[in-house]
């Protein structure tokens, strides 16, 4: 027996080799870098929404066979919208910022589309109205480059008129062929009364100017295309009668026909002046806040007045000259999503049934809507094209889970009452079960059935704050807007980026307390801080809009919650006084006082300062300045201050080197990266990066890059930083990384203290060439930080790249012999793999930000990209290791198990037969 057994073992070893190899291959496959999507997964967990932005110019295209609306927006977009559904037929995104600023749009009524955009010289583009192709483009020569703001544009009959008032002399009108750019003629209309102070508006073919400010003010009218014509003048008194008070405001009325409106008495009163050969003032007062539009119906001019009061929209149609009200065309409407609308374009064609008017409304909250007769056909939430703050919230538990939660959430622990509660809840559950089975009364619920937490925490709610002051709740499965709310009179803290701050004070896990978010912004009129608290799931206001009465300098969320799980907000005002919101959290804040530090960075003065609250008493919080740092604004300007994500967790404390020793990470939660760009001749094109411990004020590290320029994008996470810049010398985009290590010994294994640690970290750094332009960068984040980190990079070409951090690891060895585990040898260029583009061909334009949020699964991170378009998806940086793959072969495993089972039975039978036979021998 012995030899047999031995050989058996040998054979087993021989055969076992193959499966081990297989296993190895499988394991290697798990860790390879590909992170692709399968084609059948398209749209399964991602969605994209396209927007155009706030409307600036609009017009109905009634010339083409397919009726549509042409719009040009503040976001430098020209688009065609479907008349019936409001969907985008085609969209052209022009250059970002000033370079693509749309100055005028016209010619739609003549069957072509001309846009003038950009700075000096402006670019004139002629577009194909039907398809959106460009027909031609040409730059317009600008003699006075500093006066581009005063230039008025007029497009008529294929001619583009460039109208420039010249002070104390006249108006220069230059005409071009709008398609070819050929200069047709230049003429000068004399108007010596125009000076720097005169306010002029274009009411083609006239230019109307207001001169003087008192009751002697005069409206002067100049015909632009008739050089012989004398300027006409209308005094304010003939328009308003006696007794009108200044200041007056001149406005051109949109629509057909040269009509202007004049506001008087501090915008309380408004009257219109119809310009023609003989200008006729209309002796009728119009409400000062009404917006006007002139539309022609059957060759008759109709004035449309739009007013908005208490949620009611009223459009009153009157005959322009006779002021007779036309009730057929007047509309009264109430709709939640339209606020203070303005008619941007209107058409009233005569059809068989009579006259039906279509009005394109643009609201104060940037939304646009199409009104047909008195019915709202569609609305578009264009405020979403300018999101300034985002949070992704967990959805609340379902009613059933809530019932279970209440059952165990009781304070008293009496056996009998607990037993009773158990029984009652089980009876309730049974009743609910039978009700659903028998299709009886649907469960009355205060929430939508599908808006509940799912098993893996993948279904969430995006809370978005827009620059228009409108808040949205968007669910993540389909991108449907669940709620929206417009906050009146708020604006962001900085003018340029319109930042508002959104805090999650209480998450969704603290039933029965509702989740709570707080928005910090500035009052439009006073500039003082406002705070608005709301339920992020339903959009209901909790405390209303609270005016704080002081200007906000800095704010932070307390890390300890009150007894009802609410985290207070600490606000530092401009006089360095500390406030807590809500007041009930003051006690918690005071008890934490010793450990709270704040820091501020002032862009204009370049001063960074740190505050400590350790001098606080139980009644009052006192901020005491503990350190100050000056980054002289004369040679550098602070452009970015980047801290780590406060919810981030670092799972691995160190890195195992090839000699089995551990290099410990320098994980300082108080580390903040400050980026400054050099200004002035000597420091132009330099970039400085400082790593500052904001508790102690210690400078940890600083680096200067010469001959580089922005835009700079920076990601700060764990113990590393990744930033991108444009290298002027190499004329390429580069990504640089820094990684900080404590060394081989960890100074404190449990808690990091900025005040106790004095040793500076070891900094590893490396730079890589990146073959595309970057619009934004953000790192992925997961619940426990076990999953490896990837960097989500928004590219200028509309792609969103998932770049493994391993690719930008500064420890990638240049010498290929010094290899470490899991480190790829250094290559100067980072390849952009197409299969790492997570939005495949769903390009997104002009990305403003990327928000990442952990899901319930450790492997999965939720990604929300916003800009002109919205895109949402989820990524699994280390592949979905905690759930079975989507294409997991259930059949195979069943078949194999069944086959094994059957074969074992069969062999058992066979073996017994054989044994029987042998026994017979």
């Amino acid at each position: 027996m012995a030899p047999c057994a031995w050989s058996f073992r040998g054979n087993i070893n021989r055969f076992l080799d193959i499966p081990i190899l297989q296993c190895l291959i499988v394991l290697i496959g798990l860790f390879n870098l590909s992170l692709c999507l399968y084609e059948d997964q398209v749209g399964k967990f991602d969605w994209r929404q396209n927007y155009v932005g706030k409307i600036k110019f609009a017009s109905f295209d009634t010339v083409s066979t397919a009726k549509k609306i042409i719009v040009a927006t503040e976001e430098n977009v020209i688009a065609a919208l479907n008349l019936k559904s409001g969907q985008i037929l085609w969209r052209r995104v022009l250059e970002k910022g000033y370079g693509g600023h749309i100055r005028t749009l016209g010619g739609v009524t003549d069957g072509d589309l001309i846009s003038v955009s950009g700075g000096v010289p402006a670019i004139v583009r002629a577009w194909d109205l039907a398809t959106g192709h460009i027909l031609n483009e040409w730059p317009i020569a600008e003699p006075n480059s500093d006066r581009i703001k005063d230039v008025k544009w007029h497009i008529k009959d294929g001619t583009l008129h460039h109208i420039l008032p010249i002070y104390n002399s006249g108006v220069e009108v230059t005409s071009y062929d709008s398609k070819t750019g050929e200069k047709l003629k230049t003429r000068r209309v004399s108007a010596p009364f125009i000076s720097r102070e005169t306010e002029c508006v274009l009411a083609a073919p006239y230019l109307a100017c207001l001169k003087g400010d008192s009751s002697l003010a005069v409206v002067l009218l100049i015909h632009l295309f008739d050089t012989n014509a004398q300027s006409q003048s209308v005094t304010i008194n003939t328009i308003f009668g006696a007794g009108a008070q200044g200041p007056y405001k001149l406005e051109s009325v949109l629509g057909e026909g040269p009509v202007i409106s004049i506001n008087a008495d501090n915008d309380q009163r408004k009257r219109i002046l119809v310009i023609g050969e003989f200008p006729t003032p209309i002796q009728r007062d119009i409400a000062g806040d009404a917006t006007l539009y002139v539309v022609s119906v059957d060759n008759e001019k109709i004035l449309l007045e739009t007013t908005y009061k208490n949620g009611k929209i009223e459009i009153t149609a009157t005959n322009l000259l006779s002021s007779a009200v036309i009730p057929d065309l007047s509309v009264t409407l109430t709709h939640a999503s339209i606020q203070s609308p303005t008619i941007m374009a209107s058409v009233c064609p005569r059809q068989t049934k009579g006259i039906t008017c279509r009005h394109l409304l643009s609201s104060q909250d940037h939304s646009i809507a199409l009104l047909q007769h008195n019915k709202l056909v569609w609305t578009r939430e264009e405020a979403l094209a300018s999101i300034v703050a985002v949070e992704i919230m967990e959805l609340p538990m379902s009613d059933r889970d809530q019932a279970i939660e209440t059952e165990f959430d009781q304070k008293e622990r009496d056996v009998l009452s607990m037993f009773l509660r158990r029984i009652t809840s089980q009876i309730n559950q049974a009743r609910a079960f039978f009700q659903t089975i028998l299709d009886l009364v649907p469960q009355q619920s205060n929430q939508r059935i599908d808006l509940v937490q799912d098993k893996f925490g993948l279904h969430k709610m995006i809370v978005a704050v827009t620059s228009a002051g409108k808040l949205y709740g968007i669910e993540t499965r389909k991108g449907e807007i669940i709620w929206q709310f417009k906050l009146p009179n708020i604006r962001g803290f900085t003018k340029l980026s319109n930042t508002m701050i959104l805090y999650v004070q209480r998450g969704s896990r603290h039933f029965p307390h509702p989740p709570q978010c707080a928005l910090l912004a500035e009052d439009k009129e006073t500039g003082e801080g406002v705070i608005y608290t709301f339920n992020p799931i339903t959009g209901q206001s909790l405390d209303g809009l609270v005016k704080l009465g002081y200007k906000i300098k800095q704010s932070m969320l307390l890390h300890v919650a009150t007894d009802d799980f609410l985290r207070g907000i600490l606000i530092l005002d401009v006089r360095d006084k500390v406030h807590v919101y809500p007041d009930s959290a003051t006690a918690v804040a005071a008890s934490l006082g010793k450990n709270i530090y704040l820091f501020t960075a002032d862009q204009t003065t370049g001063i960074l300062s740190g505050f400590s609250l350790s001098y606080s008493t139980t009644q009052e919080l006192i901020a005491h300045k503990v350190w100050e740092l000056l980054l002289s604004p004369r040679n550098q300007r602070i452009t970015q201050v980047v801290a780590k994500n406060p919810i981030e967790r670092v799972h691995s404390q160190g890195r195992v080197l090839s000699d089995r020793s551990v290099l410990y990470k320098y994980i300082n939660p108080n580390l903040v990266a400050i980026v400054t760009e050099g200004i002035g001749h000597a420091h132009k094109n330099t970039l400085n990066l400082y790593l500052l411990d904001v508790v102690s004020g210690a400078m940890i590290f600083s680096i200067t890059h010469k001959r580089v320029r922005g835009p700079i994008h920076i990601v700060h996470s764990e113990n590393w930083l990744v930033y991108s810049y444009f290298n002027e010398k190499g004329r390429r985009t580069e990504i640089a990384t820094l990684e900080l290590y404590e060394g081989k010994i960890q100074s404190n294994t449990t808690v990091f203290s900025s005040l106790a640690t004095t040793k500076l970290p070891i900094v590893e750094r490396q730079a890589f060439i990146f073959p595309a332009s970057i619009e934004y960068m953000q790192e992925t984040i997961t619940e426990k930080g076990i999953t490896s980190k990837h960097i989500i990079v928004a590219l200028a070409n509309g792609g969103i790249l998932e770049l493994p951090w391993m690719m930008v690891d500064p420890r990638r060895p240049i010498n290929p012999e010094m290899r470490e585990e899991g480190v790829i040898p250094y290559m100067p260029e980072i390849p952009v793999h197409m299969d790492a583009i997570i939005n495949y061909n769903q390009s997104v334009s002009r990305v403003m930000g990327i928000y990442t949020s952990p899901s319930g699964l450790e492997s999965t991170c939720l990604v929300f990209v916003h800009g002109l378009d919205l895109f949402y998806t989820r990524v699994a940086p280390s592949k979905t290791f905690d759930v079975l793959k989507e294409d997991f072969d259930y059949y195979l495993i069943v078949i194999v198990l069944a086959a094994l089972l059957i074969s074992s039975y069969v062999t058992k039978k066979l073996a017994s037969q054989k044994a029987q036979k042998q026994a017979w021998k």
């Binding site: 031995w6 058996f8 055969f15 499966p19 670019i123 460009i134 027909l135 985009t733 390009s843 074969s903």
Partner: protein, 220 residues
């Protein structure tokens, strides 16, 4: 060959001079127009590709839009160096670097981000042809016989089968049996059979113990 090298050197030099010139004459206000043509992918003659495509200089500083025939212009560009890229979500186009000197002389060359001084000229006005369609997706694995056979589970099933069916036959072969025996003889002294050890340990252990106890008793 030498001539070509010389030429290259000159080109590099001139390129550097351009760069220097660009830095010196930052204030020159002359504006130029970059021209070119984008060709569609042959197989995809679908309409509307012009709408999906635009041309981008320096990562979005300047845009050029396509006419119906694919030609484009990028207007209002000051002298300098521009990376011109075609942006299309479905097809890859190679970027081109266009250099305009202050006199308005154009030169287009291939983009080389690593060796920035290397010059491989391409014709100007630009002709942008698609290299390949983008491959954003991984191809789902197809069911293949080899995959199935090398599946660990299948191997697990097949392996015992082989052991059962083939081993007895090998054992029956006299030559291998001899070999085995030889092997066995060699190793038998070094390696006691595991199963025997265990059985002896489990069954015989007790007896020996009791014997030992008895012996101890006898001594007393």
């Amino acid at each position: 060959m030498k001539e070509i090298l010389c030429l290259l050197v000159i080109l590099i030099n001139s390129c550097e001079r351009y760069v220097i010139a660009e830095h010196e004459e930052d204030t020159s206000t002359d504006l130029f127009v970059i021209e070119g043509k984008v060709f569609p992918w042959d197989n995809a003659a679908s309409t509307g590709w012009q709408l999906m495509t635009h041309v981008m200089a320096n990562g979005g500083e300047h845009y050029g839009f396509l006419r119906e025939d694919g030609t484009f212009i990028i207007s209002n560009v000051p002298s300098g160096s521009y990376m011109v890229e075609v942006v299309n979500p479905n097809y890859v186009y190679e970027p081109v670097r266009v250099e305009i000197n202050s006199k308005g002389k154009f030169r287009a060359r291939k983009v080389n981000l690593i060796q920035t001084s290397q010059v491989i000229q391409v014709p100007y006005p630009l002709k942008m042809r698609p290299l390949a369609p983008f491959r954003y997706f991984q191809i789902r694995e197809q069911w293949r016989l080899t995959d199935f056979l090398f599946n660990p589970m299948v191997l697990m099933m097949v392996l015992p089968l082989i052991l059962i069916m083939i081993l007895p036959k090998i054992m029956n072969d006299p030559e291998t049996r001899k070999e085995m025996e030889q092997l066995n003889n060699l190793t038998i002294y070094n390696m006691p059979e595991m199963s025997e050890v265990i059985t002896s340990f489990l069954s015989g252990g007790e007896k020996q113990k009791s014997k030992a106890v008895k012996a101890a008793k006898k001594r007393q």
